[in-house]
């Protein structure tokens, strides 16, 4: 596995996330039924389809354009907060992407950092609020740590996926402060946040997608 990242691998990374979401959308809806409408899984399924469609139609696209097309496709799913938040992650990644066709672990890490900033710009939620950020922040940090230590993209993504999964796990102890679940107050404690689990599935998929590419 070379360290330089080309479009085929970025596509594989995105498609890995698509596969993970498709395999787990029912569980996401179940988790969402505790505090939300129980439709997070179907929104994520539509997001996954939108990503797959963008990737398959993008044979020769610059990283920047592929990511921004992915963002707009995801934002267009009409899925409440899910589309805009997930879309702003990809849009943030796109903002930091150069015109170049290759990317190393440090470059990919920089894209993730910019993606995280994109999300944080659009939500007042922060770490510990029982949202997707509780998986996304540790994932981005793990990616950054790995890249700084000189690890390759596959290893970095693996540790990012592990960190995201751990982060999603911790949300079951948290009290929701944002979205519809916040109205549950203390009753929100005990279940994982559906958005955080989605984010951990995305990073798990990123890692698997790159492994198989």
């Amino acid at each position: 596995m070379p360290d330089k990242f080309v479009q085929a691998q970025l596509s594989a990374m995105l498609m890995g996330a698509v596969a993970r979401i498709k395999a787990n959308h029912k569980e996401l809806s179940r988790l969402d039924s505790f505090g939300g409408d129980g439709d997070h899984g179907s929104a994520m399924l539509r997001a996954a389809d939108a990503i797959a469609k963008t990737v398959s139609g993008a044979k020769k696209k610059a990283t920047k354009d592929l990511l921004s097309d992915t963002a707009w496709a995801v934002m267009g799913i009409d899925g409440g907060a899910t589309g805009p938040l997930l879309g702003s992650f990809f849009l943030g990644m796109s903002d930091a992407a150069g015109k170049g066709k290759s990317l190393d672990a440090k470059g990919l890490s920089a894209l993730f950092i910019s993606g995280l900033e994109g999300v944080m710009k659009n939500t007042p939620a922060r770490a510990g609020d029982k949202t997707m950020l509780d998986a996304l922040i540790p994932a981005v940090e793990a990616m950054q740590t790995g890249a700084k230590a000189g690890a390759g993209i596959p290893d970095c993504l693996k540790s990012a996926a592990d960190a995201a999964a751990k982060g999603a796990e911790t949300t079951s102890k948290m009290k929701a402060r944002f979205g519809r679940a916040k109205n549950l107050g203390d009753k929100s404690i005990g279940n994982k946040d559906a958005g955080a689990v989605s984010m951990s599935l995305i990073f798990k998929g990123f890692s698997e997608g790159v492994e198989s590419a």
Partner: protein, 333 residues
């Protein structure tokens, strides 16, 4: 238990409901190919346009408020979910004009996110858009933290007065000021007695125990505290009205608007009974019921319960409230 709803494929819910909505209201609205709901006869270009967005499954809201005297464009989302920013920016572009666009947004996470992202794009493109956020649900936060408050069926009053102001040819600044004044003088409280079924997933929303009611439940079954034993119409109306009057600090001699909005399976009979309970309480408190409405304006599938909306009215707001409108959900001659 299987869901007892007359629907087809879950993924077709929104497009099919819009198709039927258009057939039933062909004299008032049109549904475009991109699912935006617009007036059958567009408003004159020199008048302020009014746009809103919101999830589907709450019929007749919000697209039922499109028409003469009310909205110009509504952007429907998926079931209980806001439309995405691309569709919202499309609507803002379509509505854009020299007179300006008033963009009314109900305070829910998804709607706010989509509208903020669309507004950022609108600003970049130089569109003339002014946003007004409705957040009149008193159960979800104090007046000091307005962003905690959800936007419930009180949007009807905001859209009505702003729509009338736009129709009269008032400027964007004036329309926004009127919308904001109505909003600031509105308070809504919801009560739920039975659950709704999500029409796409079949999931049960907001289960309420047989002998209980929940005061303060939002339009997606968000709990708002206040679970109590089921009470009579008079007792329930008194509890809710007291909270609304206290929140708005309404005093003896003031004039109010009251709306009883049935959310699904609570009958019109019950809504009328509650409305007369409201009148009795107001009479006792020497507050004048200047205008009132009962009916289904913003529903939550077959949820049982209603939203009670109270608004402090002044002369101008009353005259705007009385102005004509012609929409699928409501007409004033």
């Amino acid at each position: 238990m299987p869901m007892k709803k007359f629907v087809n494929k879950p993924e077709d819910l929104v497009s099919e409901l819009l198709r039927g909505f258009a057939l039933a209201n062909a004299d008032k609205i049109k549904v475009l190919d991109n699912n935006l709901v617009v007036r059958a006869r567009p408003k004159a270009k020199n008048k302020v346009a009014i746009v809103t967005l919101g999830g589907s499954g709450h019929e007749p809201a919000l697209s039922g408020f499109v028409g003469e005297g009310m909205l110009d464009i509504s952007v429907p989302g998926d079931i209980f979910a806001a439309p995405g920013p691309p569709k919202v920016i499309e609507a803002l572009r379509m509505a854009n004009r020299k007179a300006g666009v008033l963009f009314i947004v109900l305070n829910h996470a998804g709607d706010v996110l989509s509208s903020n992202m669309a507004l950022e794009m609108a600003k970049r493109e130089g569109l003339n858009v002014r946003k007004v956020l409705t957040h009149e649900d008193i159960s979800a936060g104090s007046r000091k933290n307005p962003t905690d408050r959800r936007g419930l069926a009180g949007c009807l009053a905001v859209i009505k007065v702003a729509g009338a102001a736009a129709e009269k040819g008032k400027s964007l600044e004036e329309c926004a000021a009127i919308a904001e004044r109505m909003e600031a003088n509105l308070a809504t409280l919801a009560v739920a007695v039975s659950a709704a079924t999500h029409p796409a997933t079949g999931g049960v929303i907001a289960d309420v125990k047989e002998d209980e009611m929940v005061v303060g439940m939002g339009q997606h079954g968000e709990a708002g505290g206040g679970t109590q034993k089921l009470k009579s119409a008079d007792e329930t109306a008194a509890i809710m009205l007291d909270a609304l009057i206290k929140d708005l600090k309404i005093k003896k001699g003031e004039e109010v608007l009251a709306i009883i909005n049935g959310v699904g399976s609570t009958t019109l009979m019950e809504q009328y009974i509650v409305l007369q309970s409201v009148k009795k309480v107001l009479d006792r408190k020497k507050i004048a019921l200047a205008r009132c409405l009962a009916g289904e304006f913003l529903t939550v599938q077959e949820m049982g319960g209603f939203q009670m909306i109270l608004g402090r009215m002044d002369k101008e707001l009353l005259s705007l409230w009385d102005a004509p409108c012609h929409c699928p959900a409501w007409s004033v001659k």
